[in-house]
């Protein structure tokens, strides 16, 4: 047992650190550090900077043009970018659909789709949830009917994060009503510029436009955009979920935000209040414990000696911590967090705000973070999964 990184890993970290310091635009990291709204351009600018260096697909193996890093190296990359204030890479392309295309796509599909994902040119969205299919995802109804060399897609997806910017969307669609619901689902890639695709905004309680409904009205999809075999989509989707491991805990961002919480608490004069400070201290213990759990998973992945089935725990704990730090930041600002100043969410706002501009987004972020225990498999669904593992039935 050893809690240190090897000299090689340390050198790797320093290399990433120096590169990020050189290449992360300051206007973007300033926004991230202060929860200022990021534009499509901000997000894509950073994606393309990474892409140019071959790092947008930082988890990719070498054969598909990725850096071929191991679990520890990936973690160090995620940590260094997060601590430097880089935006979270929009995961739908490089983290979610790309591994599925690599594992189950044809060589032609790999050649066609992976370069656009790796460079950051093509913006991908996710089409999983439907109005009637949340936790019970397998009940989804969006229908794809095979007609010759095409599928005709009809239905509605929802909660499509940043779908308003999407070029392509990967969807789970129903291709059969035979047997169990899971066995009639296929994995389809759809060009969002196709006739019949409509994206409608959903405004969340923070007043922001982050998620969308995506409607499909007789959308024609060429059959060569089906991944793998028809009716095997559920298997591919599960593979994707398994692929998303430690990153789901987002512990690196939690460390950065904990530092920010301390800055805000200090500025607001509550850092030396014993009751408030103890709440920060509790959160700090939570973050250290989560980081240790993440490191245990990484070590297990690296050595392959012991298997650690704690992905559900990481999701539950990581999301609870995100909610808690956003809550404490808002509470630190107290009454100064109450005025609603939507314009203060834009960069460079110089208006007059009680307590300074940095407090303006705090309540909105707190509201926004309620999503974290709902998305990605609600925490209650995660508890079902954990219980199944623990109880063996």
């Amino acid at each position: 047992m050893d809690l240190t990184f090897t000299p090689d890993e340390q050198a790797f970290r320093e290399k990433i650190h120096a590169w990020v310091a050189q290449n992360l635009p300051k206007d973007i990291s300033d926004k991230v550090r202060n929860s200022i709204r990021l534009t499509r351009d901000d997000m894509q600018r950073w994606a393309k900077i990474l892409g140019k260096n071959g790092w947008l697909g930082w988890g990719w193996p070498k054969e598909f043009g990725g850096p071929g890093w191991n679990a520890i190296q990936k973690h160090l990359f995620e940590e260094e970018t997060a601590l430097a204030g880089a935006p979270r890479v929009v995961p739908f392309g490089p983290v979610m659909v790309a591994p599925v295309i690599m594992a189950f796509g044809s060589p032609e599909q790999q050649k066609r789709f992976l370069p656009g994902i790796a460079s950051g040119e093509v913006w991908w969205s996710q089409g999983y949830s439907e109005p009637g299919s949340g936790s019970d995802l397998a009940s989804l109804k969006t229908r794809a009917e095979r007609r010759g060399e095409r599928y005709i897609v009809n239905g509605q997806k929802t909660w499509t994060t940043l779908g308003q910017f999407g070029d392509w969307i990967f969807c789970l669609v129903r291709t059969s009503n035979e047997g169990k619901p899971q066995t009639g689902i296929s994995f389809l890639l759809i060009d969002m510029k196709s006739p019949g695709v409509t994206v409608r905004p959903i405004i969340t309680m923070d007043g922001e436009h982050e998620v969308n409904e995506v409607w499909f009205d007789n959308v024609e999809v060429p059959a060569d955009q089906l991944i793998g075999e028809e009716n095997k989509g559920w298997t591919y989707a599960k593979y994707l979920l398994a692929h998303e491991r430690t990153n789901i805990a987002d512990v690196n961002r939690a460390k950065r935000e904990l530092e920010r919480l301390k800055r805000i608490a200090r500025a607001e004069g509550v850092y030396d209040d014993a009751r408030f400070r103890d709440e920060i201290a509790k959160l700090e213990v939570d973050v250290v414990a989560l980081e240790m759990m993440v490191l245990r998973v990484l070590s297990a992945e690296k050595s392959g000696k012991q298997s650690l089935d704690v992905a559900g725990l990481l999701k539950i704990r990581g999301s609870e911590i995100q909610q808690r730090y956003s809550e404490l930041m808002m509470l630190a600002a107290g009454p100064a967090a109450v005025p609603l100043r939507r314009e203060a969410m834009a960069a460079g706002w110089q208006g007059d705000q009680l307590g300074g501009a940095f407090v303006a987004p705090l309540a909105g972020t707190y509201f926004n973070m309620r999503k974290t225990t709902i998305y990605g498999g609600s925490n209650e669904v995660q508890r079902n999964i954990v219980a199944q593992t623990v109880l063996g039935s």
């Binding site: 047992m1 050893d2 809690l3 240190t4 990184f5 090897t6 890993e9 520890i72 460390k255 904990l258 530092e259 301390k262 800055r263 014993a274 400070r277 103890d278 920060i280 201290a281 509790k282 700090e284 213990v285 973050v287 250290v288 414990a289 989560l290 980081e291 240790m292 759990m293 490191l295 245990r296 990484l298 070590s299 297990a300 690296k302 050595s303 000696k305 012991q306 704690v310 559900g312 725990l313 539950i316 704990r317 209650e380 995660q382 508890r383 079902n384 954990v386 219980a387 199944q388 623990v390 109880l391 063996g392 039935s393």
Partner: protein, 379 residues
């Protein structure tokens, strides 16, 4: 970054586990509790395994093993709810004897490695409330010797101790850290009185009443406090590991019970309210295990980082122990509150561990006071 155990550590774990299964099953443990909370036979068993000298240097006849080895041993002793104060002698006092300057310290270390009379730390007082610097016991110089007067509580002596390491004040007010020194006080000397009692977890402890008792200076004021803090941190790490072993076993018992106990015609493991509860229990167990590793791996850090880390670990363990203990009793229903069934005994030991070497609130205060701008495992 590596959380695998070495082959040697796996073998060590295996040998302790086998000893517990063979010589310390629940019925035998019950007999030990009944006879006062300490078994000479069990103590000899630990000696025969070579465990008593685990961290005694090889030069003194021990094994010279490290923090992770100690963690492995403590997890297994926790799993078996072993009552004998192993950590007190073989980890905490052993550290202080090595740090100390008294010529007799080496002899005590050799004795411990041989399985002879041990040494335990006696630092707690009625009013110290986990603070190491709050010491009312006084030591006065008397020629080449010292005379100690005062009362120490909760001394982990089941009868195996031949001497005590006593924190006593050579100068200053009751909470002046600079005036605290450490002394070796032998059992049976004039002015050394032991008042033994059973503890809530079935073990045995004693109050140590010193009246002008003779003491040998182990560490002088100034050197004593850093060594004492380090020793207590070693004790905290040991408790964390013991708690993980105990919780592991308690959760396993609970899972077994949930899968066999039927109500409304089905195993209670089928009820979602209980399934979510056991998921939350598993969460607390894994957070605790993670922080127990953290505690052991941070013991070698410089004092400020070490102290912060060990307090963080004790906070996590305190929260986990209380949640896991309470919920596992709850999940068992009526049988959980009986003396007959093992679960309640795990719960009681976990409760006592929380109140040893600083409870959750105490260590939260420490974490809060030692907080820095940056956070995380490597901060």
């Amino acid at each position: 970054m590596d959380f695998d155990f070495s082959d040697d550590q796996e073998m060590l774990r295996d040998s302790v586990r086998k000893w517990v299964e063979k010589s310390y099953d629940f019925e035998r443990r019950r007999a030990v509790v009944k006879s006062g909370g300490f078994s000479r036979e069990a103590w000899q068993g630990l000696a025969d395994l070579g465990l008593l000298g685990l961290q005694v240097p090889e030069a003194q006849g021990g094994m010279g093993f490290g923090a992770v080895d100690a963690m492995v041993v403590m997890e297994e002793l926790g799993r078996g709810l072993v009552l004998e104060p192993y950590a007190a002698v073989s980890l905490v006092a052993t550290h202080l004897l090595q740090a100390g300057h008294a010529p007799s310290a080496a002899l005590w270390l050799e004795g411990i490695a041989r399985g002879g009379p041990g040494v335990v730390l006696a630092q707690e007082e009625r009013h110290s409330r986990y603070r190491l610097d709050h010491v009312q016991t006084r030591a006065q110089h008397n020629g080449s010797n010292w005379r100690l007067s005062g009362t120490k509580i909760g001394v982990p002596d089941g009868g195996q101790a031949g001497a005590f390491i006593v924190s006593a004040r050579t100068s200053g007010a009751d909470d002046d850290a600079g005036g605290v020194a450490l002394f070796l006080v032998s059992k049976g000397e004039p002015g050394v009185e032991l008042k033994p009692y059973p503890t809530q977890d079935g073990a045995k402890a004693a109050d140590l009443v010193l009246s002008e008792a003779s003491g040998i200076e182990l560490l002088a004021a100034g050197d004593a406090m850093p060594a004492l803090e380090h020793a207590v941190d070693i004790g905290i790490a040991a408790l964390c590991a013991e708690a993980v072993g105990a919780m592991d076993r308690l959760v396993a018992l609970t899972v077994e019970y949930m899968n066999t106990r039927k109500q409304f015609g089905v195993p209670i493991a089928s009820f979602q309210a209980l399934r979510h509860r056991i998921a939350d229990v598993k969460m607390q167990l894994e957070l605790a295990r993670s922080m127990s590793y953290f505690a052991a791996l941070k013991l070698g850090e410089p004092a400020p980082a070490r102290r912060r880390a060990l307090s963080q670990a004790k906070v996590q363990l305190g929260q986990s122990m209380r949640f896991v203990g309470q919920q596992c009793i709850q999940l068992h229903g009526g049988i959980g509150v009986t003396d007959e069934y093992a679960a309640s005994h795990y719960f009681k030991r976990l409760t006592v561990i929380e109140m040893s070497f600083g409870d959750t609130m105490f260590h939260l205060g420490e974490v809060s006071a030692r907080m820095q701008d940056t956070a995380g495992v490597f901060a």
